[in-house]
Amino acid sequence: MTLTRKSTSGARASSGLARSLSAAAPRIMDRRTFLKRSGVTAGASAFASALPFSMVERAQAAPAPAVGGKVVMKRTVCTHCSVGCAVDAEVVNGVWVGQEPVFDSPINMGAHCAKGASIREHGHGEHRLRYPMKLVDGRWVRMSWDDALAEVSARLLKLREESGPDSVYWIGSSKHNNEQAYLMRKFVSMWGTNNCDHQARICHSTTVAGVANTWGYGAMTNSYNDMQNSKAILFMGSNAAEAHPVSLLHILHAKENGAKIVVADPRFTRTAAKADHYVRIRSGSDIAILYGVLRHIFENGWEDRKYIDDRVYGMDKIRDEAMKWTADKVEEVSGVPDDQVKLIAETMAKNKPSTVVWCMGQTQHTTGNAIVRMMCNLQLALGNVGVSGGGTNIFRGHDNVQGATDVGPNPDSLPGYYGLAAGAWKHWANVWGVDYEWLKGRYASQALMERSGITVSRWIDGVTEKNEFIDQDPNLRAVVFWGHAPNSQTRGKDMLEAMKALDTLVVIDPYPSATAAMAASARRDGVYLLPAATQFETEGSCTASNRSLQWREKVIEPLWESKPDHTIMYLFAQKFGFAEQFTKNVKVNNYEPDIADVLREINRGTWTIGYTGQSPERLKIHMRNMHVFDPKTLRAKGGIDKETGYSLDGEYFGLPWPCYGTPDMKHPGSPNLYDTSKHVMEGGGNFRANFGVEKDGTSLLAADGSASKGADLQFGYPEFDHVLLKKLGWWDELTDDEKKKAEGKNWKTDSSGGIIRVVMKVHGCHPFGNAKARAVVWNFPDPVPQHREPLFSPRADLVAKYPTHDDKKAFWRMPTLYKSVQDQFANVGKDFPLIMTSGRLVEYEGGGDETRSNPWLAELQQDMFVEINPRAANDRGIRDKDMVWVRSPTGAQIRVQAMVTERVGPDTVFLPFHFAGHWMGKDLIDSYPAGAAPVVRGEAVNTATTYGYDAVTMMQETKTTVCQIMKA
């Protein structure tokens, strides 16, 4: 065997040895960039006058070796996924010249994937959006910040005047830090709408809803690090090796120490390549398989009966359902033979503690909320939740998607999952120091103030749907893309129509993004681009998937004319007339709200999920003392901060939320949720009492004897409020000052934190109560999860047996179709026989505008491609690397390169979703501002995706739709 054999892959071969053979004639990006990179500065400067963007600044900022100038080290965190890899940046004279591994970080121990290892390139950003610009007669024209702010705000205020605040849609970002995401929700509230959202909607919204409704909090229960304690790991709908590469550091360490790894996926992923067992499944059949797995568990008595009796409600109903899923039925739906289903069950049951990992492969379905609850039910049956090495390890996507979900711009909740009821508004009005009545006056009505807004997955319909069918007065007339790619949302073809119909489209982003190109390809005017700074050009905290918060130092000043997002928010707040209310408790320096002050305000309000203990001071101490934290437990073994004398002993790295109470209470953070083996002041806990105390005569509280270690109440109990405290005789343990603030309040609204202090510190109990997890979520469309075929299924026989939901009229303000679409396309398999699914590549992130603009990454993946099985390819006369058309039932077709590979089965094709910049066969390079197009462009898979949304959260269906492929 020779090293030069690089598989049958097409586009991927560009990362292989084939490259060396073509090295003598490398593919050139563009002449300007090449000259710049190659260091031929004489040539470059001669070139400069002809360039659309001045190269002078770039030349000054050109990377010089770290010789000479004084090197300043800045500690930051990679912005490309939720693992939270620390980076030490070497800065000389304000230029980011080098990058050193942070071996001290307990999370990544110095390790990076391709994205993290090339993060410094963002500090130079040749393809960035440099100045405010607007579309004038189809061309991008530079403008000043003053003009841009004045024009954009005038247009938006006019719409607000004409059509009300709900006519503007604000798409926030999971790439904002916690403080910016939080300010974004506050900003939109003060504008007067709930029409805001961010990437979590299309990432893990089904997880957050499904998991929170099962046991309390909608987040990863354990941590990447804790997986070192697992004895078996089931990946279902997660390709961690590409999407979260550094998590494999912990996972392969576990494997080396005997953990069994099983990957169940439609695609033989790179994660599967590292597994002990791979099970090929039909996309979207997860519920059927998981019932099959549970049937084997119950039939063999592998379930943890005591655990279920003590801590789970409704498992009997799950058991009854599982018994209906016989081997034949499971195989009919999923294509998985019974011995492989049993293998999953046996591996998980006999190698405990065992854990599960899922990502978009499970969440992005019309049944996403039910699929993820099946994963929870599997873990509850095995008694794996609240156990080190167990849990549901839900890997989030963006670097701060967890934090933006927790405190950011969600259409259905104020920060901290407080919801939108009047009580929630009053709580936050109090924290913000503004009058509730004033806030109410900002909204069109109290009804709209308390009604969930439109989701990012549906904004296009908010523009184009008939007005009488939508559940708010105006249609959407303006959309602000504030750090969000358009090509990560489905139905691209419909999106272009919506973009055409808008009055105003604003992009606030470090890169012009595919939004700019799409808009300029279809419009003449009314589009504005405002350059935002990246997270390396500001400071602030971000929350990794494991709920740990990390503090980023500012590495460099904002590049070009970009401004930090929170500064831009403040400038708009001034124009809109609420700047004073916006920053009532926050210092403002030169239009920039003080980030640490913002975090302190978050600390003062977010009691529900324990974002109260992570003061900026504590986080900074953690960042400079990373070495004292153990990479297996995340716990500090001793350690005293030199600067402050603060003792770190016993704290968990990044104070993973919930970190309850005030910072003074010194809660250490919670490494593994619901863990009864630890005291609540050591990070222990139990399931949350959030769904009442009984259901149909059955108690929902934990059984006698089941409680967190050392709790005064060793049985189930409801959540704490002033009444319960008084009944228990604990009220007088509050100080007089605390009593004043806690009177009439519960633990979530007591602004003194006194209730939490007494309950946790004095009595060792959990403020949110001690209840059972719910295997049956009675407030969801399918309380007991049911397999339902996707709206576009090539299997008419299964559609008949497992039909989808009925249509919904007003769901997140929009009519939402299920049955009528499925019926209309019941026989879609005839013309579109291939299941189309999509996912990630290691080199790129999200919509990819940022990573495809980084030449170090772009060089590794130069072509958009479709993975197609040799059988399917041969039947269509397609050879490896041929250009093909992928056609979808929407009438869209995209032109991509074929990668013939057995990675996918004959019935399935896979496309990565990071590409954009081509539109149905046409390169949109001329639609970007000159010089700001990403290095690599390609067709967006979502140009071709179809309709379909989760029945609880409006998650878009991306993972199971259909297509046909033919040679181009």
């Binding site: 071996f103 121990m109 110095g110 070192q228 550091l249 360490h253 153990d630 990479p631």
Partner: protein
């Protein structure tokens, strides 16, 4: 610097320098003809102390061994 003339000059200088001190391990069949290279420990950080440099490198190497961090 790119021209053959300059290259030849450098070559001559390098040859002249070769006799002074043994800088490199030389391949048997041919004599290295280029510029002599310095030692990684000949700088302010290590003040020419090879032992110290080697100890530093060995210690640094353990960062590639997560077992040491996890079990230590």
């Amino acid at each position: 610097m790119n021209t053959g003339i300059v290259g030849a000059c450098v070559l001559a200088l390098a040859l002249a320098g070769c006799g002074d001190r043994a800088q490199v391990v030389v391949y048997k069949q041919g004599q290295y003809q280029g510029k002599p290279d310095g030692k990684p420990w000949d700088n302010d950080a290590f003040s020419g102390d090879r032992t110290e440099w080697e100890a530093t490198i060995r210690a640094r190497n353990q960062n590639q061994n997560e077992y040491r961090r996890i079990n230590g």
